[in-house]
């Protein structure tokens, strides 16, 4: 970070909601976090805002002002703490001079890259978008990789499976799902990801148990280090007995949430041992 930009009050031009929203969106789309501090009371300050952008590579930038250097100082401190706290919840804080402010944090956008635009990709793209992912769909077949089929996707792209990620950057907020029309293509894409030093948040690959076993053996043969095999979610998804494309997408969606939030994937009633504890004749009776 450059010292000048990090000095609160350095971004002394007022920042309105439209400009702030654009800056925050740009930040999270490029892997940075953003925290907006919006004064809501008293009247003299209400409506003024400050935005702190924290980029893991480029450091901090401050935009806007609450009107007083001392207020900006504490707003930056509050914003910085909020970004650093994974359990932060948006809401009101009180700054010096009894200024009440609303603090809102935006994290880097998680990407879901679906490779293969077939029957599983359709429900998966919809669910991914609803879960807050920025969805990319790739296929080498122009009839499948169409905007009409994937209206909720961020990008629908034609890609050659020999160089599938040419126009998509794979980073630590990327979730990749390999569901191409042929297992050979899934494998080529998988090798491509594993040879890349960037470690995505999730790699899922469709395939039966037998296929998956053959894949792992082949990967070792191809010189992929053993410790990277543990990153692969294959067979893909949680065990809910999924059969249809929609059900498979639910199983994968549940696994994506599990990776992001933690959790066991078990039924809560089983974890609570409801039958044993609450039913007559159980231990609680």
């Amino acid at each position: 970070m450059t010292q000048e930009e990090s000095i609160p009050g350095g971004g002394a031009t007022p920042l309105d909601a439209a400009a702030s929203a654009a800056l925050a969106l740009e930040a999270v789309a490029s892997g940075a976090s953003a925290a907006a501090v919006l004064a809501v009371a008293p009247g003299a300050h209400a409506g003024s805002r400050l935005l702190l952008v924290v980029d893991p590579d480029q450091g901090e930038r401050v935009h806007g002002t609450l009107g007083l250097p001392a207020l900006d100082d504490s707003a930056v401190a509050v914003a910085r703490a909020a970004v650093a706290d994974p359990r932060h919840r948006d809401g009101l804080v009180t700054l010096p001079e009894d200024v009440e402010a609303y603090v809102e944090v935006r994290r880097p956008v998680p990407d879901l890259v679906i490779v293969g635009a077939g029957h599983i990709a359709l429900p998966m793209a919809r669910m991914g978008a609803e879960l807050g992912f920025r969805v990319w769909v790739l296929d080498d077949r122009p009839d499948f990789a169409t905007r009409e089929r994937f209206p909720s996707a961020h990008r629908v792209m034609r890609a050659d499976f020999s160089d599938p990620f040419r126009d998509v950057s794979i980073h630590r907020h990327t979730h990749v799902l390999l569901v191409t029309r042929g297992h050979r293509y899934d494998y080529e894409c998988l090798v491509e990801i594993l040879r890349n030093p960037a470690r995505p948040a999730y790699i899922g690959m469709i395939g039966s148990r037998r296929r998956v076993r053959a894949t792992f053996l082949q990967l070792l043969d191809d010189g992929i280090p053993k410790e990277r095999l543990g990153e692969i979610h294959a067979p893909v998804g949680l065990d809910i007995g999924a059969e249809t494309p929609e059900e498979i997408a639910v199983a994968v969606a549940a696994e994506l949430v599990k990776v992001r939030r933690g959790g066991t994937g078990a039924s809560l009633r089983d974890m609570e041992r409801v039958e044993e504890r609450y039913f007559p004749g159980g231990e609680g009776a």
């Binding site: 654009a22 409506g47 809401g91």
Partner: protein, 116 residues
């Protein structure tokens, strides 16, 4: 607020600006009790294009939209408390039983256009 919600709000604000129109942005900044939307939910009120997003629908939202029109006229922000508790006995399915504080700001047609 998902990324898609943020994109929708940003686009609504940007398109009003591109067309040279001011608009209003309402944000739920605090809630108490049970409310239809949580803190962070937001609604863009564009006098030409209408509404983008939601702060919960129903009577509560109607109050917010009314306030947004006042903000558009005065160019000054407002903070209102929407009370969803009073109608508890009405048996309406829209009843939630909580209150929410909504901050409504004026978004000028040009950056730095003032009004705050």
């Amino acid at each position: 607020m998902t990324y898609q919600d943020d994109v929708a709000v940003e686009r609504a604000l940007a398109s009003a600006r591109a067309a040279g129109r001011p608009c209003a942005l309402a944000t739920v900044v605090a809630t108490r009790g049970s409310t239809p939307r949580k803190v962070g939910a937001s609604l863009v009120v564009d006098p030409e294009e209408g509404l983008t997003g939601t702060v919960g629908g129903g009577c509560g939202e109607a109050e917010v939209i009314e306030a947004a029109h006042r903000v558009l006229a005065s160019r000054h922000p407002e903070r209102i408390r929407v009370d969803l508790t009073e109608a508890l006995t009405s048996w309406s399915p829209a009843v939630c039983g909580g209150t929410m504080d909504v901050f409504i700001e004026f978004v000028p047609a040009r950056p730095g256009g003032g009004g705050a």
